[in-house]
């Protein structure tokens, strides 16, 4: 019994230490975001990296998410004779929920894991130490550009995801299920308002921060050797995915 309590105590302390260190890392990063000069070249390179790595996968998942939403939505709405509302169902599901969440999950898998691996390798090959001894702050040079790039690219990629998804839903609704083109878009115009788009934007902005924070932190604290980096990468993807879903619920409950 005593050993069991001791185990719980140790895990709790470890968890507290981990969370505390993560927050100190975030505060340190935020401090360096606002202390000039910003490493603009690194920031632009990371924006390109996030966009370039994730665009194709975001387009594909966006298109098929919209298509499957239309298919399943039509099946459900048909039971009530409310097929005309298919456009808003697809659009609202994508804009408020699926767009930000699925897009964030996809970008985490594609670019977030790569960021963790890159920073982890920089750490184990002493490149981070080399920056420090050259009096170049590694948080400012390596971490901040990634966090800013995440905050910029996540909403943009989510917007692309939403638009592609709505057109994917359109193709299925109009060309496969026989809904009229006018109904699909006019109902959407009627039911989707700015608040829905704003919720989607807030979500994707916060996901951008959360994912890049977790992925850079995991890379920055990676253990030694190939195993350390691979473990850090796995942890980054798993933790980011779980946090995305938890935060999505919390934000959804708060903003609804």
């Amino acid at each position: 019994m005593f050993a069991f309590l001791k185990l719980i105590g140790r895990y709790s302390l470890d968890l507290l230490k981990f969370v505390g260190e993560m927050f100190i890392f975030l505060l340190n990063s935020i401090y360096h975001i606002f202390s000039p000069p910003l490493k603009v070249r690194n920031f632009l390179r990371q924006v390109r990296f996030f966009g370039n790595k994730s665009l194709i996968v975001v387009i594909f998942t966006g298109a098929f998410s919209g298509m499957v939403l239309a298919l399943q939505g039509f099946y459900a709405l048909n039971k009530f004779g409310a097929e005309a509302l298919l456009g808003p169902v697809v659009a609202l599901s994508l804009i408020r929920e699926l767009g930000p969440v699925l897009c964030a999950l996809m970008v985490t898998g594609r670019a977030g894991s790569a960021v963790t691996a890159e920073i982890g390798i920089m750490k184990i090959t002493e490149q981070i130490d080399a920056l420090t001894v050259m009096a170049v702050n590694p948080i400012k040079y390596v971490v901040v550009p990634n966090i800013l790039a995440g905050i910029v690219t996540f909403p943009l990629l989510t917007a692309i995801f939403d638009v592609v998804g709505i057109y994917g839903g359109y193709i299925v609704s109009v060309h496969a299920l026989g809904l009229s083109e006018g109904t699909y878009f006019s109902q959407m115009e009627l039911y989707v308002d700015m608040q829905d788009i704003r919720i989607g934007l807030y979500k994707s902005l916060s996901f951008g921060l959360l994912v890049t924070w977790i992925c850079t932190y995991m890379g920055y604290t990676a253990g030694y050797g190939a195993r350390g980096v691979s473990r850090a990468t796995t942890n980054a993807v798993v933790l980011s995915s779980v946090v995305i879903l938890i935060w999505d619920y919390m934000l959804g409950a708060f903003l609804l």
């Binding site: 002493e126 490149q127 130490d129 050259m134 009096a135």
Partner: protein, 244 residues
């Protein structure tokens, strides 16, 4: 130049440094030898301020680096170059960009002057032809040369070498050692080399210190070390494990 006083460091229950005392003289090359895992690299990381000791001090030009942080620490670091074990070159940059990096980041020098200094530093290590290659395209020996060029570019007063010849064949070991000696004469820096290359390290060092069991147990010229009566020193030089 560098004065290490009673330096202690533990990681958890493992006591790595148990009171290191060492003076490093200006303009000399001092080698710290000792067994792998004996705390040599930990000592080096303290000198550059990457680790903070549990106890003790490190005076560089009279200032205790263990107490410094922020801008003042960076100012001291500007006078110190480090050649890391694996080179620690930035993979995403070419050789030229790697060597130019400290100047681009920390000085206001113009493009032309940076270019001239990079070409000169690469010339000094015999790699001016390789400037457009990436680190992954270079051999181990070349990477160490680029790392030396990067350390030299800011013309620091002190250069620390963390096992600069690890993983190289005996011919390359000699060639890197000769390069360190030649560049030291050319640039006049104070050198500190962490090494376990016995006996090659004796050829390029002015003084040698043996780190054993968390303490410096002997310091002297290479000749003095090789003639030492200390059994641990003797055994280390001839490659026999000693109990002490």
């Amino acid at each position: 130049m560098i004065e290490i006083r009673n330096l202690h460091k533990s990681f958890g229950k493992q006591q790595v440094l148990k009171g290191v005392n060492l003076s490093i003289q200006e303009g000399e090359v001092t080698a710290i030898i000792g067994r792998s895992g004996g705390g040599k690299s930990v000592l080096l990381k303290h000198i550059i301020g990457l680790l903070k000791p549990d106890r003790g001090s490190i005076l560089i030009k009279g200032e205790d680096i263990t107490k410094l942080k922020g801008q003042r620490l960076d100012e001291i670091r500007a006078d110190i170059g480090v050649v890391f074990q694996g080179g620690a070159l930035f993979d995403s940059m070419t050789v030229y960009e790697n060597v130019a990096f400290p100047l681009r980041e920390k000085t206001k020098l113009g493009k032309k002057e940076i270019h001239d200094r990079v070409i000169q530093a690469l010339g000094d290590v015999g790699l001016e032809e390789m400037q457009n290659k990436y680190p992954a395209e270079l051999s181990g020996g070349m990477r160490k040369r680029v790392a030396l060029a990067r350390a030299l570019i800011g013309k620091p007063k002190i250069i620390l070498f963390d096992e600069p010849t690890t993983g190289l064949d005996p011919i390359l070991v000699r060639s890197i050692h000769k390069l360190i000696r030649d560049t030291q004469r050319l640039y006049g820096f104070t050198g500190l080399i962490i090494s376990h290359e016995i006996p090659e390290i004796f050829e390029i060092s002015d003084r040698v210190a043996l780190l054993h069991d968390g303490r410096i147990i002997e310091v002297g010229t290479p000749e003095e070390i090789q003639k030492s009566d200390n059994i641990v020193v003797k055994n280390f030089i001839i490659g026999i494990e000693s109990g002490g």
